[in-house]
């Protein structure tokens, strides 16, 4: 069985946000504009949280890429009245956009606040419409969405392997954020496969889960060498 997972090395992250841009381009995420963003309606599936330590001028910035943690025990799933979000056999928290009626209960129950909502119908004025990814649906207004671990790339990787009559090899499937990271801070693969890169990273003594106390069993593992673990206020 497969359990898709991701590991992010915070010691390598420079906070450049290339992953945020790559994610938006790959997944047809709507650009809401300045005004809506100010109201707290930016749609990024992946955000770089910045936390500052120390007093000026001795300030240190910590970067924390936060995306859907693809929890093994996801708080968002049981509260959805219509099964628009559910756990698929490969460990993804899948979103069924056509099923979503927009109660936003899932987003309230997400401890990581990573779910984003389409407050209005998406607009891609020309020429933006010609750069839409044909493998990803454009979501209508009133629907919840979030990081899918680039499920379309997972599917493409599996299709390709099937055509070549082989198993999916580690490294075949790369998410958009992983691909665009200049410091290679992100790795993606099968957590059930002990030889995969992501499994090796996950076994690192530097590995931890975000808000691990909640036992949501995230599919995302963070690596950090310093004592700092979680942003505390």
């Amino acid at each position: 069985m497969t359990r898709w997972g991701m590991a992010i090395d915070l010691d390598r992250c420079t906070g450049c946000e290339a992953c945020v841009v790559a994610c938006a381009a790959e997944n047809n995420i709507q650009t809401v504009g300045e005004e809506q963003a100010r109201e707290g309606r930016a749609m990024h599936w992946l955000r770089i949280e910045r936390y500052y330590e120390g007093e000026f001028p001795n300030v240190r910035t910590r970067f924390m890429p936060v995306l859907c943690q693809q929890c093994g025990a996801a708080p968002c799933e049981p509260v959805c009245p219509v099964y628009a979000t559910y756990r698929n056999p490969e460990g993804l928290n899948a979103m069924v956009y056509s099923r979503c009626i927009g109660t936003r209960f899932c987003a309230n129950n997400c401890p990581y606040t990573v779910r984003v909502f389409n407050w209005f119908d998406a607009e891609f004025p020309a020429p933006l419409d010609s750069q839409l990814n044909p493998d990803v649906s454009v979501r209508p207004g009133g629907v919840m969405e979030k990081c899918t671990f680039c499920v379309q790339r997972i599917q493409a990787g599996k299709d390709e392997a099937a055509q070549e009559d082989r198993e999916v090899a580690d490294g075949d499937i790369r998410t958009a954020c992983q691909q665009s990271c200049p410091t290679k801070a992100i790795t993606f693969g099968d957590l059930e496969d002990p030889d995969s890169g992501v499994s090796k990273w996950a076994e690192s003594p530097r590995a931890f889960s975000l808000l691990g106390d909640l036992d949501t069993r995230p599919g995302v593992v963070y690596l950090s060498g310093s004592e700092w673990r979680e942003p505390a206020e």
């Binding site: 009245p81 099964y83 099923r99 109660t103 129950n109 401890p111 407050w119 009133g142 505390a232």
Partner: protein
Amino acid sequence: MTAESQPSAAALDGQLLGRLDRRRPGLLVGSLASGALALVFIYCWGYQIANGIGVTGINRPVFWGFYIINFVFWIGISHAGTLISAILRVTKAEWRRPVTRSAEAITLFALAIGGLFPLIHLGRVAIFYYMIPYPNSRMLWPNFRSPLVWDIAAITTYIIGSALYLFLPLIPDAAVMRDRAAAGLKKRFYAVLALGWRGTAQQWHSLEWGIRILAVVIIPVAVSVHTIVSWDFAMTQTPGWKSTIFGPYFVVGAIFSGIAVLMIAMALLRRGLALERFLTDRVFNNLGLLFVTMSLVWGYFTFAEHLTVWYSGDLFEKNVHHVLLHGDFAVPFWTMVVVNLVIPVAVLSFPRGRRPLPTALVGCGVLVGMWLERFLIVVPALSTPRLAYSIGDYMPSWVELGIMIGAVGVFACLYFTFTQLLPIVSVWEMREGWRHAGSGGESGQPSEAAPTSAAASPVPGGGAA
């Protein structure tokens, strides 16, 4: 004295129903004003459906706003009627007679509006029925693990139960209206409502049993409804929401706000229909004592909730707690404590405070306080998520305000229409009460009531039919 306090059935009917036959300018103005507000409601909702849910002020992380607050508020108001009137019927409280009908109508209309708010709140209201277990080609069920699906089951049950509970005691009155109406559309309307009521002994027997059974059954339904509403919050793991106390806390809050509405309605009815004979000062005194008790119980729950959170020292819970007590939400929080606890206790502890006017005024304050309580449950917890990077705030848009105010208009419009079409006081139950008061012990209530009833008989419109 006894004879004076026991008008004939026909005189009583005339007194209560005669008001129905007259044109009442006050009611007409009220209907028009509330109808205008109802149009605001329809316009705002239509605007939101046409433009998207983004016309509200909700955002990330405050995904729930005024709509959910008003949902909980109206469901709380609905406890004015069915629950309280059922308790009064089961305990055979005599003074329930003039109150039950109006209280049950409040319940039904408040529920209808409360039940609309979750739909208004949806991102895609056109497919709300995905939440209902209906047979469909894809063999999909709703998710029965979701508290929202429990909500739908509970509120649907409550609406059906409340409608029946309002309708059953209405049958004999509808029959009276039918018999009084001239042939035509009006007569046919009442004839449909009266379900062929002839007033035979068998029919009375069935009706009384039906009401008795419903009154007992509706009590656990009412308790479960507000418990399940609380579980929309308490079943999550959101700091500020996950709490075992929420079930009973919400039920107490609902009864508290329900009594507040009842106090206001009773004071208005007593004045408007000159019902001093039934709604005596003693009734207000007793209900005032119940009211202050609920205030104290509410205060106890509030204290217990916040003390346990503060004592735990849990970082995330404390963040929410901090914005409530000392931070951005301190002003509404302490206002709520004053109008829900300090003022009721200060006023209602004294016999002079338990008169119609002061209790109704305290009731108005409690309504504001209980609305604030729901606001303080929904918004601070959401605006203070675990990851501090996402801390947000919330300001309602004009659409949300329009729908909130418009909903009051829809409620008033329904209520005025009901009052104009049907007796807002249960005529046959009043007549029964008259009979009980006459045949019962001569001491106590009848002698106490006699002077006021004399004052009540020259009511304008008495026998005007």
